[in-house]
């Protein structure tokens, strides 16, 4: 499911990132990679704040529908 629909405070695994190359590389350097772990901290109106490794990353609604987790 896309990360925007994912339950909060549960460790999830990223399975696919459907963004363009440049954005994807940027996400990777922030720790958001396919096969990596992520925890959603809060999600409101499409925007998502998630915890990746030890950092907090905010994503807009456009991106949060393109990151698929399990």
């Amino acid at each position: 499911m896309p990360i925007v629909l994912a339950p909060q405070n549960k460790e999830l695994q990223i399975i696919r990132i459907a963004a363009d190359d440049k954005t994807k590389k940027h996400l990777e350097s922030l720790g958001i990679t396919a096969n990596g772990n992520v925890t959603v901290l809060s999600s409101s109106g499409g925007s998502v704040v998630c915890k990746i490794k030890d950092g907090r990353i905010a994503l807009d609604s456009n991106l949060s529908t393109k990151i698929f987790v399990r």
Binding site: K24, S29, R56, I57, N62, L63
Partner: protein, 759 residues
């Protein structure tokens, strides 16, 4: 960090992107002086933002002797990602584990020695905030720079290790420096690398065709990223021992975020904080104590009054008191402002003026020094306190980490206008002063978004434009007995915001088209702002400002003074004959241009004063009302108007504007409103124009920006005047607007079609 090593005062903030260019400095406490280059803070060596390109080019092209890789220990795994990329270069490296104090405060531990062993490069624990461990770090870096290091990769166990090896061999055959680094980037299909080494790309693509991983398919880039993180968590992460904590235990930062980035309460809380900042900076009635308790003003107490030249004024001591209290307690920002302006600058400049007047120089020299130079520089210096106070509050917000949250909560709203949430901060700073606001746009990743933001910043009416509003609005109420000054002032602020939104929409759908960049932002943990940091930042700002006051602005005030006091025959003119000056003549020449705005040719003999005022506003917006005051006294001295009962030199400028209305009986209320609107949205002051030029870094773009400002203000002024004078013209404007929108929409459709055809 860079500041404490080199003793400079570069600005440091609590979000990535504050250092946007590289800076040089020298560290002198080692065996030989070491030149240090501070590169922008980055997440990786893939080019996403301009600063990542700067850092990458420096590392691979300039061949530094040693890299100090500053790693944020509070997020070790993520930050070692960059480390694994630099490891692939043939350059010595030292790792500085920063923020160790924060890690230890959480009860966690990092075994630096173990990390050093596993990485094979020196690791030093430091605290940049507290300036600990820096000497040791520099010593290690110095030693390391004497050695050589060969690039190693953490990908040697992955499925594509031999591909990387092949590409590396091919590249070293062509004498490429840092072959391993470039090889990995090439396999990642990095856009810069593909450009540079087209000939080797075939190897990669051939391999790619035969490769299929069960998770990643043949997406090497994701495979490599995953390989790096896997290696990091397997080999490096164990050096971190965490204190027992529930796995999803909330940190204090997370708890604060629950409230501050709340779906519903986030924006109201933010507005409240913003209001508090403006209240603390600008309010002359702190916490509304004066209005609530109906406190008396100082002049109501006879014992504070002394007689000077037959008039009762406040005594010297009472004037100090007036800085703090006058019918209401002043807010801290206003207290600083009053002390600076009324007591320090006012007294000092008054004293200098006195000296000049009694020096027995030629009258024109006295005029030049007193009315030209001192007046001009004084006007600019008087704006130092509010700008600094406002800057301080914004620095605190930035330093604490709240700024990143604001950008996040406002992102959704801004997206509709084609901007990302990051554009918000510079805009709100525009209400204080356009200059810092334009500098702040550096945090925007997208060039077009940045240009659009810089262009609309002047529409957010700055502090210097406020006097124009209050004075003209007050005069309108007095002269025509219409309306309410507060409502006119407020409406103008709203007009500015509306104009900004419309312009952004317009630009983003025409000349500055482009997708709104995705909003990805790290939310750093909240921390208390550092006092030293704050002071350094403010000091830097002050220096910059004072330097400008004594260079550009001083020069321009002299020019204006000369133009108003000499005729075309280069004859010195007294104030009374301002009508014959070069500036007045030029203003009369261009006056017809402003006829559609209501203050042009229809005004008659003295209509040029409005044009002169608007022109002088190009130097500094506070000149507009000052010019009215000067011109009013000249006109009165020449017997053109009767200013009985008006106090034209009053600070609020209302009566000066009324005198102008008397000199031009033909002017209407609509024309005056158009005049305010024109001044608010036109080309901003000298300082802001200079900043815009520096920030846009492109001559053509800058010229278009000037043109845009001039055109926007002209259209807005003309609309207001014509609609105000003849209400039915609103239909004409509506038709024009509708036509423009339709034209743009149709053109965009056509362009989109063309694009899809060529693809």
């Amino acid at each position: 960090m860079f500041n404490s090593l080199t003793g400079s005062t570069a600005h440091v903030g609590n979000w990535p992107g504050v250092t946007v260019d590289k800076r040089d400095g020298v560290y002198k406490k080692c065996a030989e002086p070491i030149s240090i280059v501070d590169l922008p803070g980055i997440y990786s060596l893939s080019p996403y933002t301009p600063e990542e390109v700067i850092a990458r080019n420096y590392l691979s092209d300039e061949k530094p002797d040693c890299v100090i890789n500053i790693v944020d220990a509070t997020n070790l795994e993520r930050n070692l990602y960059l480390t694994t990329q630099i490891l692939e270069m043939d350059v010595p490296m030292v790792i500085a584990l920063n923020m160790m104090d924060a890690v230890e405060k959480n009860g966690d531990k990092i075994d630096a020695n173990e990390l050093e062993k596993r990485l094979g490069i020196p690791v030093v624990k430091i605290s940049a905030l507290r300036e600990q461990g820096l000497t040791e770090l520099m010593d290690k870096a110095y030693n390391e720079s004497k050695k050589r290091r060969c690039g190693v990769t953490v990908l040697q166990d992955s499925e594509i290790a031999h591909l990387i090896e092949d590409v590396k061999t091919a590249l070293s055959g062509e004498n490429v420096a840092n072959p391993l680094f470039h090889a990995v980037k090439l396999v990642e299909n990095d856009e810069l690398e593909v450009e540079a080494h087209k000939e080797v790309l075939g190897v990669v693509n051939a391999f790619k065709a035969t490769f299929n991983d069960k998770i990643f398919g043949n997406d090497f880039e994701a495979l490599i990223a995953d390989g790096r993180y896997k290696y990091i968590s397997r080999h490096f992460a164990p050096v971190l021992t965490r204190k027992d904590r529930a796995k999803f235990g909330m940190t204090k930062s997370d708890k604060a975020d629950k409230v501050l980035t709340h779906k519903i309460w986030g924006i109201p809380i933010f507005l409240l904080i913003l209001f508090a900042i403006f209240h603390l900076t600008f309010s002359e009635d702190f916490l509304f104590l004066g209005a609530i308790f109906n406190l008396p003003s100082l002049e109501d107490f006879p014992k504070f009054l002394v007689e000077v030249d037959g008039e009762m004024t406040l005594g010297y001591g009472a004037r100090w008191l007036q800085c703090i209290y006058d019918g209401g307690v002043m807010s801290p920002g206003v207290i600083i402002n009053n002390i600076w302006n009324n007591m320090i600058v006012g007294e000092l400049f008054g004293w200098i003026r006195g000296l000049v007047e009694e020096s027995g120089m030629q009258p024109w020299a006295i005029g030049l020094i007193n009315d030209g130079m001192i007046e001009g520089v004084g006007a600019v210096l008087s704006f130092l306190p509010p700008i600094l106070v406002l800057f301080m509050f914004f620095s605190i917000l930035e330093d604490s980490g709240y700024m990143a949250r604001i950008a996040f909560i406002l992102d959704r709203m801004f997206r509709r206008f084609g901007l990302s949430g990051r554009a918000f901060m510079p805009m709100i700073m525009g209400f204080g002063c356009s200059v810092p606001a334009m500098i702040n746009t550096r945090t925007l990743a997208d060039e077009k978004e940045r240009t659009a933001t810089i262009r609309v910043i002047p529409f957010f009416s700055c502090g210097a434009k406020l006097p124009i509003l209050t004075a003209v609005a007050g005069a309108m109420v007095g002269a025509f007995g219409v309306g309410n000054a507060d409502i006119i002032t407020f409406a103008m602020y709203v007009l500015g915001i509306a104009a900004a939104i419309l312009s952004v929409l317009l630009m983003r759908s025409t000349s500055l088209k482009g997708e709104t960049p995705p909003f990805i932002m790290e939310l750093p943990a909240y921390h208390a702002p550092q006092f030293k940091n704050l002071m350094l930042h403010l000091w830097d700002k002050t220096k910059h400002f004072v330097k400008k006051a004594f260079t550009i602005i001083l020069a321009s005030t002299i020019v204006i003074w000369v133009l108003t006091h000499f005729s075309f025959g280069w004859q010195y003119l007294d104030d009374e004959f301002i009508n014959e000056s070069i500036l007045a003549n030029v203003a009369m020449l261009v006056q017809p241009v402003f006829t559609p705005l209501g203050f042009g040719s229809q005004l008659g003999e003295f209509g040029w004063v409005f044009v002169v005022a608007a022109i002088s506003g190009l130097i500094a917006k506070e000149n507009v009302i000052g010019t009215f005051a000067t011109l009013a006294s000249c006109l009165a001295a020449g017997g053109h108007i009767d200013i009985n009962g008006l106090d034209i030199m009053a600070e609020n400028g209302i009566d000066a504007v009324r005198a102008m209305i008397m000199a031009n009986p033909a002017i209407t209320g609509a024309a005056l409103v158009a005049f305010i609107a024109f001044n608010m949205t036109t080309i901003p002051c000298f300082a802001a124009v200079g900043t815009a030029k520096a920030e846009l870094q492109n001559k053509k773009r800058f010229n278009y920006t000037l043109l845009f400002w001039a055109a926007a203000s002209y259209v807005i002024g003309a609309t207001i005047y014509t609609v105000g004078a003849w209400w039915w013209t609103c239909f004409i404007w509506a038709v024009i607007a509708a036509g423009t929108v339709t034209f743009i929409v149709l053109r965009n459709k056509k362009l989109a079609k063309k694009e899809s055809l060529t693809l």
